[in-house]
Amino acid sequence: MIKIALAGNPNSGKTTLYNLITGRQERIGNWSGITVEKKEAKLKDKYKKDAIVIDLPGVYSLSSFTSEESIAINFVKEQQIDVLINVIDSNNLSRSLYLSSQLLELGIPMIIALNKSDLAKYRIKFDLDKLSKLLNCPVVIISSANDKGVKELIKKTIQRSEQKEQINLFEDLNDSSEGELQDKIRYDKINQIVSSVETRKDNKQVSISDKIDYYLTNPFIGLTVFFFIMWGIFELSINWLSEIIANILGGIMSFFSVTTFFQDAISDLLTKFGVSEFFINLINHGIIGGAAAVLGFIPLIMSLMFCLSLLEDCGFMARIAFILDPLFKKIGLNGKSIVSLAMGYGCSVPGIMATRTIKSERQKRMTVLLTPFIPCGAKVPIIVLFTVAFFPDQGWMFPLVYLMSFLLIIVLGLFIKNIVGAENIENYFIIELPEYKYPSFSIASSVAMDNCKSFIKKAGTIIVIASMIVFLLSSFDFKLNLITDNIDESILATIALPISFLLIPLGFGVWQLAAAAITGFVAKEEVIGTIAVLYAVGGLVNENFEVLNSDLLRDTLGITKVAALAFMFFNLFTPPCFAAIGAMRSELKSKKWLAFGILLQFCVGYLFALIVYQVGTLIVNGKPDPTFIIAIIILVTAVLISIRMTNKNKEMEMKL
């Protein structure tokens, strides 16, 4: 067994290469700072070598200023690595060689992979033999995005691992006394090497990317384009792409969506075998019902992830981070927060982890607190069910929800900044703007497939178990008698009823929906699962992505359109799943802030739903809801408390 480590600058394509040679599906994007932790996996069998591949976070040098750098350095120094693959972006050889020179000092056998040859080949030519001789290590040209040269690279890497030493070209530098001078000599030497091995065809400094950037880095143009792209993605996903995917998956989808038919078949079969009616119900409504309701949303989630992956791959997001930085600073965030927020559309957990690249502690904390408010993949079923079932033929509702959540984040950012005090020191901000490229459809497809797999896995484990527990709790009363007629006497009803009283001013004060909201804290998909189990509605969407039984759903839930909207927002903003809370805890590193974050989520979810319901009812019915006065009291209290918190903080600052 040998250990191969991948090291290189941020966005040099390490993770793309890693995914290619291990068959893993780690998150990638055409911007820096996606990998913040080391990842390891076995080398694919086809290379016929027992090896572990380790993907390290991207760094520009081996000085330990950032957490990514520390991880990378500690790892290469402490672990017994047999061979290092130094991945280099061939568009910037001289910068990359600075890190290479430091890596060579470690004395670990090294091989250089000149990556992104697809982007460089028209402009730059390399004298590989010379470079290899000068650095005393093999050099291979690859393109990890197109899977070119990778086989040769691995073959040579395995050969290289058999040699036990690495000649250090920069040996003489170690004797030099002064650190700064030493670094300059290092760069001089590198510049010499680069000029002797690299020929640039045209030295025209203004590239197509630059021309595009001339317009797109204008904040007004850039943000407008971004807004329309996001809008397009949602439109495309819900109206077009998900149907195509559903057609591809046709057989499976109809299997899940026409569950009623499927459930009948199962009951027939089980009855024949003499299985008791209770167990048949458990299997049909508890297990199949809950999981099937959630699985029906796979096409939409796949298409959303496909489009978002294309967007991340093209390089536009780095520009958005750049544009947003001054604006984000006003709400206590950092330009790099957009990395977290964008990843949060898929899942909050990696989004929260990506905050590690933010150096300012306050901006990092703020990003951790705000990322869970972005509707993640697990919340998509809730949004679709409630916008499509209650507002049919109003497709704009879906993107509107995302827009609302983004506006909410801005308001919350201002609010928190007001409470915890503004940061007066302005930070340095720098972000690399990689060259634009055509996004890779194959990478986007595998991202979508990977999301599909993990969604199925989740539905098959957590959702099945949670739905089963919901079913059991709603089938027995506290004396453990099986309930036959009145479900309101069940254990679940008894537990959820007191909570549902709190939800009356929000318009959905029924215990079933209270139970659904509670189970949503385990995993947001389970909100839909619980509704499916408790109302025994079976499949919720069909293969053309129309909501089945939408009348039935509306009638059985027995709540108004406005209340449905309030319920949706409540579930979008209240605490996310356990996994996200765990990630928040590990990044915030403070119980106080974690408690604040969770409390904030509860309050925001509750108050937002309250406002939506009360204002909505006033508009729709023309007269206030019976609970209007209670709602006003709650809102006024909330406002008073937050004003007090703000003032208290100001007093503290005055004292300081």
Binding site: Y60, S61, S63, F65, N91, N92, S94, R95, Y98, L99, D183, K184, Y187, Q205, V206, S209, D210, D213, Y214, T217, N218, P219, A318, R319, A321, F322, I323, D325, P326, G335, E426, N427, Y428, F429, I430, I431, E432, L433, P434, E435
Partner: protein, 78 residues
Amino acid sequence: MNITEAKIASDLIVKEVKANQEIKKFLFSLGCYEGEVIKILNKNRGRYIIIVKNSRYGINEKLAKAIQIEENYYRNKI
């Protein structure tokens, strides 16, 4: 003179980076240090795009002010 005062699209020589050690080291690892040639590609409402060793970076006003450039060299170029 710093980057905010310089003109777009001319070659500039870095004189000094007036910032904390951390950001200085970081810029050094990118190749932005005393004596090196950099270029300003674009300025827009407190946002600057600079070219250092064939890579583009977006920087904010504060960092742009921290990067000092050779004044004389700049004048000669004009």
